[in-house]
Amino acid sequence: MNNTLVKLLRSMLGSMRDLLPIVVVVLFFEFVVLQQPIPELGRIMVGVLFVILGLTFFIHGLEQGLFPIGESMATAFARKGSLFWLVTFAFSLGFGTTVAEPALIAVAAEAANVAAAGEMIEASEDAKARYANGLRYTVALSVGLAIVIGVVRILKGWPLHWIIIGGYVLVVIMTVFAPREIIGIAYDSGGVTTSTITVPLVTALGVGLASSIRGRNPMIDGFGLIAFASLTPMIFVMAYGMLI
């Protein structure tokens, strides 16, 4: 228990150091450039304290919970040797973590507004909600698929860069044909899908798989899952924009 406390205190110092740049930037712009007083100082100080504590606890939980379970499951799947279950797991992880992602829900709603303004769909609330939901499931599907492709790549040892470059070529081709309004959102959707909890889990899964399969290098084969998860949504969102 004492040991945990020392570790927490040490990582709290780390969190403070991590947040220091933001504080410096905000203070500089507030006082030097904009020359405005900071509103609600008391509340902001409490907020800063929460952020420091929160980051500390998160990193602690990451090392104690998310990393070990991700790796132990990867090893267990590799030992079990069932491709079907591994692929099912990969898909559920990608789909399940994305479909409820708040950032994605926000972006999908925004995209529906754009589509309505561009007269691609009716401007009614109902049509927008349908469009946003369809988009959300499309993106979640694409992330699930991305993790599956990524896991199969680790098993087979395919070189990552050819697949990614192929994906880029596809994105460029789709850009030519997709409606202009959707392009900005499609490009953005690649970045917003990977949440704070998904990233550590997926990384641990990839590295764990690559370490437990003979002939795979965890550095070369273990990373790359996130790259797939941020590439496929761009393609799928543009396809969605073209179809609807």
Partner: protein
């Protein structure tokens, strides 16, 4: 009561976030793999730490950083401020991209500093350091990614101001990535590709989105619906370039 409600809301939101993931993990663990993880108690405690930590983190951001950041994005893109900072007395009408130089500096600095604090980047950096046996420094990677995000967001702001179509920038970025892929050390490539996706989550996205919307609303001739997006795309493309550049530089120095 006033304070309790947001705390409850954020906590419920996080539980909502974590629950499907936990259900998938433990579902597969017990139904498919049919084994008890060796240190189940510790892992469950770890999940609890993640839950509490993330809730506190988001709540704190909602209280301190987001309102301030949004307010500053609004003030910096305010036409009155831009004109005062720009070359005053210019008779030329229309938009001069140089007038927005504080916006670019703000974009650069806020992109850099929020990326340093991004929890998922910290996670990937820890893993990369562990897997590479210390060859990839935690701070080296984080700073390389942060510089990439900073450059990406300021360039993205420049694009909104001048109104260029986004796809030329992205395609040019892809070409640089492809060229660098042939030149960079092989070990870094997958990690570099990954670092594009991890940079933009909890801390960066809300602030950057506010900046993009603020800019496209106030710059004459821009439509927030079309031009307001794309900053996140820039922020996920440029780290790929900067991480590969970081590896190339370290290799050069080692020689």
């Amino acid at each position: 009561m006033d304070i309790l409600k947001p705390i409850l809301d954020v906590t419920l939101g996080t539980v909502n976030d974590v629950l499907p993931i936990a259900a998938i993990i433990f579902g597969f663990q017990f139904l498919v793999l049919r084994q008890k993880p060796a240190n189940l108690g510790e892992i469950l405690a770890g999940f609890a730490w993640v839950l509490v930590g993330l809730s506190l983190f988001l709540l704190g951001l909602e209280w301190c950083l987001f309102p301030l950041g949004r307010l500053m994005a609004e003030q910096l893109t305010d036409p009155a401020f831009v004109q005062a900072a720009g070359s005053a007395g210019d008779a030329v009408m229309g938009v001069d991209w140089k007038d927005y130089f504080w916006v670019y500096i703000f974009a650069f600095m806020i992109g850099f500093s929020t990326t340093i604090a991004e929890p998922s980047l910290i996670a990937v950096a820890i893993k990369a350091n562990e897997v590479s046996g210390g060859a990839i420094g935690i701070w080296g990677l984080r700073i390389a990614v942060a510089i990439g995000v900073a450059v990406g967001i300021s360039l993205g702001c420049y694009r909104i101001v001048v109104g260029d179509p986004i796809h030329w920038y992205i395609i040019a970025g892809y070409i640089i990535v492809v060229i660098q892929t042939t030149l960079a050390p092989k070990l870094i490539i997958p990690l570099a590709y990954d670092s594009g996706g991890v940079t933009t989550s909890t801390v960066t996205v809300p602030l950057v989105a506010a900046l993009g919307l603020g800019l496209s609303e106030t710059v004459p001739g821009r439509n927030p619906l079309i031009d307001g997006f794309g900053l996140i795309a820039f922020a996920s493309l440029f780290p790929i370039i900067s991480v590969m550049a970081y590896a190339q530089l370290s290799k050069l120095r080692a020689r």
